[in-house]
Symmetry: C2
Subunit: 426 residues, 2 copies
Amino acid sequence: MEEASARKPRVVIIGGGFGGLEAAKKLACADLRLTVIDRTNYHLFQPLLYQVATAALSPADIAAPIRGVLSKCRNVEVMLTEVESVDVNAKKVKLSDGDVDYDYLIVATGARHSYFGHPEWERFAPGLKSLEDAVEIRRRILMAFEYAERTSDEAARKAAMTFVVVGGGPTGVEMAGAIAEIARYTLSKDFRHIDPSQARVILVESEPKVLASYPDDLRDSAMKQLADLGVEVRTGIHATNLTDQGLQVGDEFIPCRVKIWAAGNNASFVGKSLGVPIDRVGRVMVNNDLTIPGHPEVQVIGDLANFPFQTGQPLPGVSPVAMQQGRHAARNILMMIEGDQPQRFWYFDKGSMATIGRNKAVADLKLVHLSGIPAWLAWLFIHVLFLVGFRNRLAVLFQWAWAYFSFSKGARLITRNFQSEQRPPA
Amino acid sequence: MEEASARKPRVVIIGGGFGGLEAAKKLACADLRLTVIDRTNYHLFQPLLYQVATAALSPADIAAPIRGVLSKCRNVEVMLTEVESVDVNAKKVKLSDGDVDYDYLIVATGARHSYFGHPEWERFAPGLKSLEDAVEIRRRILMAFEYAERTSDEAARKAAMTFVVVGGGPTGVEMAGAIAEIARYTLSKDFRHIDPSQARVILVESEPKVLASYPDDLRDSAMKQLADLGVEVRTGIHATNLTDQGLQVGDEFIPCRVKIWAAGNNASFVGKSLGVPIDRVGRVMVNNDLTIPGHPEVQVIGDLANFPFQTGQPLPGVSPVAMQQGRHAARNILMMIEGDQPQRFWYFDKGSMATIGRNKAVADLKLVHLSGIPAWLAWLFIHVLFLVGFRNRLAVLFQWAWAYFSFSKGARLITRNFQSEQRPPA
């Protein structure tokens, strides 16, 4: 039994995000040995991370334990560990605590936010990629209101009630809209010395309009819907400096306590170790079948891959691309095991959507462009449908329904690190 | 308007736990100015904290923002800050960032776990008082299984699969039972190199039986129900040393990775600053009307108070005592404002219950003692009923129902501190 299974091809997937998990589901229970490596123990539904950062959902609502998702098939092994690099010649993945050999490899390690050569800005303006990021941003937003309530310094209070989001892509638009909603509705009656609805939310975008990847009419609509929510959208300007005290845009210094970074991504460092060409932001230049040059047994998918064969541009870093590539890469492996060639990948674009707030969204469904309530309902429907795991889907629906009818957000917790709250007895 | 309100008596409540929040609810909207001070922004439903620590519930499920609970009455102000001490002569509460004057004061700052003169043990064996504690314990429990799955060192694996809970009160019993259930049911199919159901759970108690405050028949029943779940109950022994590697009890050293402390409490340091007699564990010796000697305008309630007038013993540190005292203290203040004397406090004991696991519990309802399923159903009913806030109650019910029928726990997340997961690009 052991020996028979030792002769089966060994497939390793690095990364349990949308791409990696789709590939894993397709390969689970097939006649091979499958190892999934991730540095967290959960799959994260990243499109809803901004709702954790703005106190609408709890971390566990948008995360599913990877082991739980894949536990049914006994040929699947999940490893919680850090990948250091890949040795494509030796067919080995180097881990922080050992090596793993593979016959076929899928690399799906994604991207993190990047600060255009200013890594020191991260401390002042966290990005939004992990649950830890989201809980930290939630803490900062809620603490800013608490600070404003307690301080007697008028300038400090103004800075605490000014929230700046850098970057007008979907994440930036969703964050800005959600912060404005918290201030206008959720917290409106909670304070005595400040009026949270007077908070300023500023969205900074270097292009002339937000949502660069959307059709022009929806970009206009998004600008208008943001303005309706009271978000100040500043377009055509760059953040040139970022400090504890605030943010420099053009000639103006905006004093603000909470800054959120949604402006750029860098692909995971694992891509570099493959030894094949990468682009300016670290994405691997894959072949049109998702394999890498010279190594058909290695495929790269999702945010880590630059796939320019369909539109001339890299495919966008969104979950549908990653999921379709994950399924395709899994199929390629099953074909290669049978002795066939890997096939060319085609992305089927069903459209994209971004939510701005209650009843506010834009949806580009290709055949039709939606704005406002219809777009928002479409967004709601799709996101509930795609949430991983039956339990999470119901829990999220419940919390959304509650939030919609009560204007309240349930996860308004300011939590700190373990032991930081303890103080020595006097 | 401002002037009129400035002449109203000012009531300050320190602590937003069960006692403080009950008092606040009773005084909210009365003809006085009310200030509630807490160092977190939420009221915590502490009896369910062990369910966060064992991945059944999310932090937000058992916490309600204090501002939200009290936002309706405009005369209530909530301060998120740290109390340093109370100056009873100047009628001032000293904060880390200022002072607050009071006419009437309720001190309800509770207790933290204590390590019998070994504060260095806390690092190795966290207690369970705050959300941060609970999330840290959850991380340690889940990481122990991950470590056991990856290690090739047989002794290290055994130590990682040994969980020790020190202290056989309700919290210790609940923790031990819940860890045993996770291992036997929730995680049973998740690993490939270990069998989680082989995990050892050891409960150490210095008395001859667990649940010292319960009637003898229920203590026996709890011992039996724990044994049914596979928990090894070691009674009549003390932990004499505690290290990273394990725990010394009597002559035996038990190698174990995860240790949880549920053995003792020390009252909050704020009690000491009142300048009146305190007991061995720091509780304030209150008068029989909850006021402190010489200062009828100051009342102490909940876990911080030693109230020996009813049974000869201090009342137990449980939420019904704190809540009844909170309401009584509020009534006393309303009477004193009218020129009347504060009244003697009487605790009405409706009984107590502890849950051990699925269908397993004990309940001392005074007239009747329940064990097993009836006790467990009673426990469920009471806890859902008392959970603060409509939203949390429904969310918790939903998650419990899901967990009951699926044997699954939804919040199996290993989360780390912000930025600890980031690594420099290679």
